[in-house]
Subunit: 145 residues, 2 copies
DNA sequence: CGTGAAAATGAAAATCATATTCAAATTCAA
DNA sequence: TTGAATTTGAATATGATTTTCATTTTCACG
């Protein structure tokens, strides 16, 4: 069975919160885990619909929120106004190409450390952050060889 | 005359782009420059209305966009879904308190340099970025003395 | 297995910030 | 002064997401 671990995680979360294990939730989790990258709600909905033509958009929205709460998905909102989801994995930030939409992940312990020092200097306790670099990727640069 | 320099900047921009110097634009610029911090469209509109009860919300939106284009204002969108404007000044990033809404500005040459190196490593040309730290300010921390 | 209370679903309608439309008013170069 | 171009503001549209609510489904318990 594919995505067995994640389905068990979801089931555990549902039980823990007295929520119900529906076929829609399992189906959306399956489609989400099979998709790659940073997927929009709309694309996710379309892919869900290919296999389950009766699942509503509302249920997709609600289920993705649930998957985020369960720690299986992460919600991202870049500057184009639509919400994207990615399979939850360790913290990272993003490079976003404003021409082709490519999204590259990066992480930098030094930046993280420095930003926390800055925050501390201001008496701030950082709970989360977003660090997004917008520009042109290698393929979209004018001066690309 | 207050804000003389900025009014001249606006006039120059308008002339340069064959746009018209209206009393609404001047009024909105005045109110905007008199406001402090990172002001939402709604608050700005309310403050404009106090002095000019006939100026429409639409005109405020359009004028703020214009002031951004003219380099007098900067648009910011933090995670609460509303657009804010601040008087344009040199590049900086933000600490945002999710309890009281306080916004603190910071800048760090090392972070800027490091992020550009990361981007370059990926073949990326960075055109703009956002680096926002969300958390609790000194006054809102649970463990504040 | 049934049962029923609680939860979930999906279609439609609501929200909410912002954008667009359009007729009337204003600006400003000539 | 004038009239073509621009701007204004009220109303309406937009578009992503959320809420509503009647109906359906789940599942703990008997
Ligand atoms: Mn990512
Ligand atoms: Mn600022
Ligand atoms: Zn690209
Ligand atoms: Zn605070």
């Amino acid at each position: 069975m594919v995505h067995e671990v994640e389905h068990r995680t979801l089931t555990a979360y549902l039980e823990e919160h007295s929520l119900k294990n529906t076929k829609q939730r399992a189906a959306i989790l399956d489609v989400f885990l099979s998709a790659t990258g940073h997927i929009t709600s709309e694309v996710l909905f379309q892919q869900v619909r290919e296999q389950h033509s009766n699942i509503g958009y509302t249920t997709v929205y609600r289920t993705m929120k649930l998957l985020c709460d369960a720690g299986l998905a992460s919600e991202r909102r870049f500057d184009d106004g639509v919400t994207r989801f990615e399979i939850a994995h360790e913290h990272h930030d993003h490079l976003v190409c404003t021409r082709c939409g490519k999204i590259i992940e990066f992480e930098c312990a030094m930046i993280e450390k420095t930003q926390n020092e800055i925050a501390e200097r201001h008496g701030f306790r950082v709970l989360r952050h977003r660090h997004e670099l917008y520009g042109h990727c290698r393929d979209c640069r004018e001066d690309s060889p």
